[in-house]
C-alpha cells in the first residue's frame, strides 16, 4: 500500500527530473557543447548521490512546515504538487517542484486545521526571493572573474571552447548534485514521517537511514525523468528561452549550482555554526528561479538591453501562481479522498488544556486567568483550539505558538522494551540511562518528557550557545517522541 501512495511522489520526482535537469544541462546540450547522452548519465548519477548523501537538510524544513502524518495525505500532497507543476510546465512557465510542494503542504494544513508554521513559511518564501537575487549576484561576480581570466591568460578560441566544455560538465555535475540534495525534499520530504522503511546497514561499512532509502528511490525516479523526458526541455532551454553564449551558460549554471548548494549543505551549515557565523537556512529552493536569476545577472552586467523583461514578468507570475494552484488542488483533492474514498489523509492532533500546561504557560509570563476557564477541555484540531483561544484571549503570535506547543496532546509511555529499540551508537550511554530512570512513566505532553529528561541528565539539555549540539539533540528528542507514543 505504501508503494501505491508513494507513486505520486515518484511522479513528482519524474517531473522534477524531466524539467529541472534542463536548468543544469539544458544550455550545454541545447548549444551542442555536450551530447544529451552524456548529460543525462552524469545528471542522473549525481542527482542520486546528492539526494542520498546531502538530502536530509532541506527535508527538516519541509517537515517543520507541516508534518503530513498519514500516507494518503502525503500521496495527495505530492500529487497536487506534481499536477500543478505539470500544468504550469504545459503553459510554458519554468516553475519548480519547490513551489508546488510548499503550496500543496499549505493546502494540507488548511484542510486538516493544522496551524501553518509562519516562521518556516517566511523562511521558505523569503528564500525564494533571495534565491534568484543571490544567483544574479553570484553570476555577475563569476562572469567578471571568468572574463578577467580569459583576457589575462589570452585564452584562444578553441582552447576556450574545450575549457568551457569541461567547465560545463563540472558545474553540471555540481549542479546535479546540488539539485538532488536541495530538491529531494520536495519529492520525498512528505513521505519521511510516514515511511515504513527501517535503517539498513551494509556489512557495517555504511548504512542507509529510512529517509535515505526514500531519497534513493526518489533520486532514481528523478534520474529516470532526466533520461526519458528531459531532452525536449533541454533543447528548449538551450535554444529557445535563453540565447546565451557557452561561457555565459557556464557561469549561469555555476552560479545556480552554488546557490542550490548553499541552501542544501548541512556541512556548510555546521561549519558556519561551529565558527559562530550566521548560517544559511536549509530550504528547498527553485532551480528554475536560480537559473533565471543567474541569466538576468549576466544580462544586467551587459547593460540589461538583452533581457526580455516581459518574459521575466511572466515567469515571476508563474512563481506566485504555482503555490496557490498547488494549495487549491491539494485542498480539493484531500476533501474528495477523505470523504469520497474514505481514506485517512491525516492523523488528528489533539490539544488538551491540562493543569501542567497552564503552569508552564504561566511561568512563561503569559496571563492564564481566562485559560484556566478552559481547564480540562480537549480540542480535536489546532484550528479549533486556536479559534477557542481567539474567542477568549488576544495573544501575540509567539504566545499562541507557545500555548499550542504546551497543550498539544501526545501521550507517551516509557517502557524498557521500547528503550531497547534505541540505537546505542546514536544515543549516548548517559542518555539511555536517563531514559531508564523514567521507565514506566506516562506523559501527555512532549515537553513534559523533555523537561523530565533534562532534569535527570545534562545530556538531554538544549545548549543555547551550541546550536550544532542542540540540533542533533532535537533529532534524538523527535525520535523518542515517536518511539514512546501510545494511543
Amino acid at each position: 500500500m505504501f508503494l501505491f501512495f508513494l507513486s505520486s511522489g515518484l511522479f513528482l520526482g519524474w517531473s522534477l527530473g524531466a524539467n529541472d535537469a534542463a536548468n543544469v544541462f539544458g544550455t550545454a546540450v541545447g548549444s551542442q557543447m555536450i551530447s544529451f547522452k552524456r548529460a543525462a548519465v552524469l545528471c542522473g548519477v549525481f542527482v542520486i548521490l546528492g539526494a542520498v548523501i546531502s538530502g536530509a537538510g532541506t527535508s527538516d524544513t519541509i517537515g517543520k512546515l507541516g508534518t503530513v502524518n498519514a500516507m494518503a495525505g502525503a500521496f495527495i500532497v505530492a500529487l497536487a504538487a506534481a499536477v500543478s507543476v505539470y500544468l504550469m510546465t504545459v503553459l510554458g512557465y519554468p516553475v519548480s517542484t519547490s513551489q508546488g510542494i510548499i503550496g500543496a503542504i499549505i493546502g494540507w494544513n488548511l484542510f486538516t486545521g493544522t496551524l501553518i508554521d509562519y516562521t518556516s513559511l517566511t523562511k521558505i518564501v523569503s528564500s525564494w526571493i533571495a534565491c534568484p537575487i543571490l544567483a544574479a549576484i553570484f553570476s555577475m561576480i563569476l562572469y567578471k572573474l571568468v572574463v578577467f581570466c580569459i583576457k589575462t591568460f589570452k585564452i584562444r578560441m578553441f582552447k576556450l571552447d574545450t575549457l568551457t566544455r569541461y567547465g560545463l560538465i563540472i558545474v553540471g555535475i555540481f549542479g546535479a548534485y546540488s539539485l538532488g540534495a536541495n530538491n529531494i525534499a520536495n519529492v520525498m520530504g512528505v513521505f519521511v514521517p510516514v515511511s515504513p522503511f527501517r535503517d539498513i546497514s551494509f556489512m557495517g561499512i555504511f548504512s542507509l537511514t529510512s529517509a535515505q532509502q526514500l531519497f534513493l528511490i526518489g533520486g532514481i525516479t528523478i534520474a529516470i525523468g532526466v533520461i526519458t523526458y528531459s531532452k525536449r526541455v533541454m533543447m528548449t532551454v538551450g535554444t529557445g528561452i535563453m540565447k546565451i553564449s557557452p561561457v555565459s551558460a557556464f557561469v549561469a549554471v555555476w552560479a545556480h549550482s552554488i546557490v542550490l548548494f548553499l541552501f542544501a549543505s548541512q556541512g556548510l551549515e555546521h561549519f558556519l555554526i561551529s565558527h559562530g557565523l550566521p548560517s544559511i537556512p536549509l530550504v528547498p529552493v527553485s532551480s528554475s528561479q536560480a537559473i533565471v536569476g543567474a541569466v538576468i545577472g549576466i544580462g544586467l552586467l551587459k547593460g540589461g538591453k538583452g533581457i526580455r523583461w516581459k518574459t521575466v514578468g511572466g515567469i515571476s507570475v508563474g512563481w506566485v501562481v504555482t503555490p496557490l494552484l498547488a494549495a487549491l488542488i491539494s485542498f480539493i483533492s484531500l476533501f474528495f479522498f477523505q470523504n469520497v474514498f474514505q481514506q485517512q489523509t491525516y492523523k488528528p492532533v489533539e490539544y488538551i488544556v491540562s493543569a501542567a500546561a497552564i503552569e508552564r504557560i504561566e511561568n512563561q509570563g503569559i496571563p492564564t486567568d481566562k485559560l484556566k476557564g478552559m481547564l480540562g477541555n480537549k480540542y480535536s484540531s489546532a484550528f479549533q483550539f486556536n479559534k477557542a483561544l481567539k474567542e477568549r484571549l488576544s495573544l501575540r503570535l509567539d504566545d499562541t505558538s507557545f500555548i499550542m506547543e504546551s497543550t498539544e496532546y501526545h501521550k507517551m509511555e516509557i517502557t524498557g522494551a521500547a528503550i531497547r529499540f534505541l540505537d546505542s551508537k546514536w544515543f549516548t550511554e548517559e542518555q539511555i540511562k536517563a531514559l531508564e530512570k523514567l521507565d514506566g512513566q506516562v506523559f501527555i505532553h512532549t515537553w513534559m518528557m523533555d523537561e523530565a529528561l533534562a532534569g535527570i541528565s545534562p545530556s538531554w539539555r538544549i545548549k543555547k550557545d551550541d546550536r550544532l549540539f542542540s540540533r542533533r539533540l532535537k533529532e534524538k528528542i523527535d525520535r523518542i517522541h515517536d518511539l514512546f507514543h501510545t494511543r
Binding site: 548549444s31 578560441m157 566544455r165 561561457v247
Partner: protein, 216 residues
C-alpha cells in the same frame, strides 16, 4: 569521456594556421609573379603560376577538411557558422589571386613601361591588405583583442590601393597614343587588382561582426 578533444583542438588550430599560411604564401607568389611578368620573364611567371595553383588547391583541401571537422566534431558551436564563413571568404581571396594569374596568363596584357611602378604598387597594396586580413583572422582565433589593430591596417591598405588605382586609370586614359581597346584592357586589369584590397576589406567588415558576437 573524450580526452582527445585537446588534440582535436590543436589539430584544428594547426589546420587553420596552415590554411592561412597558404593564403599568405599565395600573396607572395602572386606579387613576385606580377613583377616577373612586367619584366617579361614569362618562364618564371609560369612556374609561379603553377606554384600558386598548387597553393590554392592545398587551400581548398584544407578548407574542406576544416568544414568537415567543425561540423562532425561539433566544435565552437556558437561561432561555427561564422568561422566557416570566414574561411570561405579567405578562400575567395585565394581564388582571386589564382584568377588574376590566369587572367594575365591568358590575356597577356601589354602594360606600358610608365605604368609598371604604379602597377607593382597596386599589387603590393592588395597583397598587404590580404596579409593584414590574415593577421586579423589569426588574432580572431588567438587573441581577439588584438584583431582590431590588423583590421585598421586593412582599411589603410585599401585606401592606398584606391588612390593608386585612380591615378593609374587616369594616366591610362590620358595617353593619346593608345587605342581605346588597349586602354580598356589595361583598365580591366587595374580594376581586377584593386578588387583584391576591396575584397579584403569586405572580409574584415564581416570579421568585425563576428568579433562583436564573441564579445564577453
Amino acid at each position: 569521456m573524450d580526452f582527445d578533444i585537446f588534440k582535436r583542438r590543436s589539430g584544428i588550430e594547426t589546420q587553420i594556421d596552415e590554411f592561412l599560411n597558404r593564403v599568405s604564401e599565395a600573396g607572395l607568389i602572386f606579387k613576385g609573379a606580377v613583377v616577373d611578368y612586367l619584366k617579361g620573364d614569362l618562364e618564371t611567371f609560369v612556374l609561379k603560376r603553377d606554384r600558386l595553383h598548387e597553393a590554392e588547391r592545398q587551400g581548398d583541401v584544407l578548407r574542406r577538411e576544416l568544414e568537415l571537422m567543425l561540423f562532425t566534431k561539433t566544435l565552437i558551436p556558437e561561432s561555427r557558422g561564422d568561422v566557416l564563413e570566414l574561411i570561405e571568404n579567405m578562400d575567395t581571396l585565394l581564388d582571386h589571386y589564382k584568377g588574376a594569374m590566369w587572367k594575365i596568363d591568358i590575356e597577356q596584357p601589354r602594360i606600358c613601361d610608365e605604368f609598371h611602378e604604379d602597377f607593382k604598387e597596386l599589387v603590393e597594396y592588395g597583397v598587404e591588405a590580404v596579409e593584414s586580413t590574415v593577421c586579423a583572422c589569426r588574432a580572431f582565433f588567438r587573441n581577439i583583442d588584438t584583431a582590431s589593430a590588423h583590421m585598421d591596417k586593412v582599411i589603410y591598405w585599401e585606401k592606398k590601393s584606391d588612390v593608386v588605382s585612380t591615378r593609374l586609370q587616369r594616366a591610362i586614359f590620358r595617353r593619346e597614343d593608345l587605342r581605346l581597346s588597349h586602354k580598356r584592357h589595361i583598365r580591366d586589369f587595374v580594376r581586377f587588382m584593386e578588387k583584391i584590397a576591396d575584397e579584403a576589406e569586405d572580409v574584415i567588415d564581416r570579421l568585425s561582426i563576428y568579433i562583436v558576437k564573441r564579445a564577453l
